[in-house]
Amino acid sequence: MLELDNVTKVFKVGAFGGTTLTAVDRVTFEVRQGEVVSLIGQSGSGKSTLGRMILGLTPVTGGTITFDGAPVKPGKAYYRNVQGVFQDPFSTFNPVFKADRVFAMIREAYFPGVPDADWTDRLDAALRDVRLDPGQVLGRFPHQLSGGQLQRLLIARALLLDIRLLVADEITSMLDASTRIDVLNVLADLKERGLGVLYITHDLSLGHYLAERTVVLRHGEVVETGPTEAVFTRPLHPYTRQLLSAVPRLHAPWEDAEPVEACLYHKHGASGRLYAAGEDHLVACARLGDCPKES
């Protein structure tokens, strides 16, 4: 459905744009129908830039992003299929308007001919899909709703457009533990219905809970990608291992974790090559191929 092929993004930085910064470097992966792909990386790894490029909010410097075989062209037709939800639910809504105005805007822009009764039915259905009670949320101001409710309203808004791909960029990182899981479960339900979800996060446990496939980014490059089970149980790249060993877990103190052998990783931009480590499991680890450090 969504395919990225050697996508690169170079920003001009510094005074007069004199120097360049490669935020995303030759990234290739795809999101299929009915599949959650989690894109995991630390701050500055380029994960949000990738999300913005997929949504057409930032132009691509190199490589191609295609949706159903056609290059991404921002516009009404594309946004009927692909929508995004972002991190901060409190700044997404206009505080002086009732929260359901986001739905009215969708109706004006995309469905001006739909009769009132029909629209109400659609709206109710979309809200129920994200497990919100229409009576409880409609007609409220954003400050009267919780962060979890606001995020689910935004997902419902996307669903009204019959989208096929949702880009969810850190949508749970501002939520409390007790409401976070409700939003994740909504995403899991949507996946069952055939929606593709690109779940961008820095939290490995959330990515593991939800995703079929995982893409680990470092400095804009893919270091490891594959089925979530394979990446989490048999991580091959030292960077993935180091990330996994640093995740705080219940019942497993850090002291008990096996130390990760030191590796300086290959120098940034030195290889960019991925080696096959198993079915659909690709690793940029030098040990699986020609190691620039050891050779």
């Binding site: 409401t179 809970y209 939800l210």
Partner: protein
Amino acid sequence: MSLRVSDLRVHYTTLKGDVRALDGVSFEVGDGEILGVAGESGCGKTTLGKSLIRLDGRMRHIGGEVELDGEKLPIGDDRRMNPFRFHKVSLVPQYSMSAMNPTRKIGKMVGELLRSRGVALDQAKLEGRLELVGLSREVLRRYPIELSGGMKQRMVMVISTLLDPSLLIADEITSALDVSTQKAVATALAGFRDGGVVKSMVFITHDISLTYQIADTIMVMYAGKLAEKAPAKTIVESPRHPYTKLLIDSLPEVGVRHTERRLTGIPGGPPSLLDPLAGCRFRDRCPLAFDRCVQEPPAREVEPGHVVACWKADA
């Protein structure tokens, strides 16, 4: 006993009335103990941390006492509290990323800070502390902007403990950091206790799995009150308060997939602290609630070191 807090009440004054952010909390922290304080947004954990060092303009000390190393802290009196700050109690704030003066090189700034407290800079001690948190002495010649987030966080930790306080309060110091940096910072913090730099520590975070990694004891707060307090292992393995149980059950961990075990959140939201529910404040979200919950459950010790504020703690 290093820190003893009894029935502490701190309210915020607002136009609508008093917000009872901290409403009768009692606990103790022993020598060499790290107490982790966990809870959701608005449970009063940050208010607790701030109360122990400085009340801001909107906060009022309503009642209760704080005793540190046998000495009563005048927390309601900003001026009398001054001699205690940084000498006895110190804080690593939530905003560490922007806590340092951007126009000074770090070494110069540290010197100025110490002079403002009337203390001369002990270069050897400073370098020892930098080593303890894994920073090179080079950082003293740099500006804060030249440091990464984790380095800034560790630098602020070094600065806040230079006067050897007895109690260190760390408020959400890792929430803006990546997992591997988070681990380095949290480990360095525990190193302060192990190295005897500080006697005891209050580690505030919303992340129970992180608290579990470094705290000896965990205190779970809900709506301005203590819900449960026990050794870290007990809180995670056999919690007694329904809120703690639900909170821990809602945590996705590496190893849990939604297809195998579907986690659930806690329905509803925390009560408004302007006019909170009488009795147990968790009762309208609690699956075990019964008639008696309209009376406030006292925090009682169900076994040594395990305090629970719930009528059904024994069930």
